[in-house]
Symmetry: C2
Subunit: 292 residues, 2 copies
């Protein structure tokens, strides 16, 4: 069972018809409209697990904390939202000493202070390996959030910057690529501009790699994509740029051309989710937790 299959099954089983729930499983965030509220609320959760999303030896605790919050903020960015508050569930392992715990919170809270995100709750536990789950709540004007299912044939496909830095950094563990891997910058400002100024038809954040995330966007929108060129981070490989995850850039589609961002291809009619790069089929190969 692949992750996509499992998500499909969960969607089929789960009750969706909660009062005020405007968008459920399947986008970067769920959307809830509180009774009488002047704005919609966006919700996302992201797991960070030792040995899967970070390595005890390689990642300093400050970086683990920063990346934890950045993951959640990136989902809010992809919907064009403004972050409001977060909750953190954290299971510590036997090896995590006071220095590690303080470093973790220092990294997470530095980004929280900068973005004006209150830490309002969570849960603490212990486990064999460190794991945490970040819950982010953001806000966007009523009905005006971005979603991943609005791409239309003819739209241009854009990314917010060169890709592959995170994969390169994790491999080499030095230079600017490593620093970008350790402290990714969620594209909050850009997400809001995509909504207010560029009238993006669809957006998603690049957490699992371009090929898989573009596949998801196209699948949700019922369209296919032709890629011409992909901006590759200096010294990263095309492989890093296409399939490496955790760049946390935004991928989006625009109805009109712009020079403000690198255009990487065009939305086309076709088998939903099918991707082509330079006229060759490009199978989605980003990170699937269930090996799909």
């Amino acid at each position: 069972m692949t992750e996509l299959e499992l998500v499909r099954r969960i969607r089929a089983w789960a009750p969706r018809a909660g009062r005020g729930v405007l968008l459920g499983i399947g986008d970067d965030c769920a959307v809830f409209r509180p009774r009488g509220a002047r704005e919609d609320l966006l919700f996302t959760t992201d797991l960070l697990i030792e040995g899967v999303h970070f390595l005890r030896e390689a990642h300093p605790p400050q970086a683990v904390g920063w990346r934890t919050l950045a993951r959640g903020l990136s989902d809010i960015a992809a919907m064009g939202g403004r972050p409001r508050f977060c909750l953190l569930s954290l299971a510590l392992a036997a090896w995590t000493d006071r220095r590690w715990v303080e470093g973790f919170y220092r990294g997470l809270l530095r980004l929280a202070w900068r973005e004006g995100v209150a830490l309002v709750g969570g849960d603490l536990s212990h486990a064999e390996r460190v794991m945490c789950d970040i819950v982010l709540c953001g806000a966007a004007p009523k009905g005006r959030w971005l979603r991943r299912d609005g791409a239309r044939p003819g739209d241009g496909i854009y990314v917010s910057g060169p890709l592959g830095a995170s994969a390169l950094g994790l491999r080499t563990r030095r230079g600017r690529a490593w620093r970008l891997h350790l402290k990714p910058e969620p594209r909050l400002e850009l997400g809001r501009l995509l909504r207010t100024r560029f009238h993006a038809t669809a957006a998603i954040d690049l957490s699992d790699g371009l090929s898989l995330d573009l596949h998801r966007l196209c699948l949700a929108s019922g369209v296919a994509a032709e890629l011409d060129q992909v901006p590759v981070f200096p010294r990263a490989t095309l492989e890093d740029a296409l399939h490496g995850g955790e760049d946390y850039e935004l991928l989006f589609t625009l109805p009109r051309n712009t020079d403000a961002f690198p255009r990487i291809g065009t939305v086309v009619k076709g088998q939903p989710g099918a991707l082509r790069l330079a006229s060759q089929a490009l199978p989605p190969r980003g990170y699937d937790h269930f090996g799909g």
Copy 2:
């Protein structure tokens, strides 16, 4: 470092002043008031970890799913709220097959359907052991939610039912105690009645054991407590009732006497958090994840 100490430190470090945040770290739920909304929103997260909160051999997948949601619902109950929606982060292990995953969701969603809780999102991953984090959002009339810090000297201390069933059930793995352990019933209706009809001054849910949770309620309220008697579930020990966790009954304080619930003691002035049972000091000994 004990869990209480760590929570104290996190509270000191974390930004609290988010717009709309009415209650941050330290109660069963955080409280957020969306701009213009007609009700306040309650948020809680709860971890459930294989080997810590459930055993692969002992707990059927349906029970793990049910208990996951029940843990979150119980926090909403303790604030007098009505549940609205949930998100679920789930990391599966190599041993979890399709049958287990389906059973888990069946258990969780049975309770979700019954309580009208939509499952709107989450995250999927893998880990060496199964772990999940449930995020619950509930609602309560503006400013009218219950909290744990309002107990006053002279208030009676009550519980919603006999205690120790869960600890007894886990030990014996049979009979009604085992069934209650596997399918705890969150006290949602009662939580709302405590708010609307009994004017409870403080409430908390009994997830970590009476002695520890009463200690927390008293600490938050700046008071001490004298216990006279504790209703013990048939065949459970006083130890089970005082220190066994996961009964998910509510513990609350009322300004006036009532026969509707078992009265177990009285709020008194004294060292904040200090407990006495039958005139003997009762140290809090419930479940602390950091062995404090």
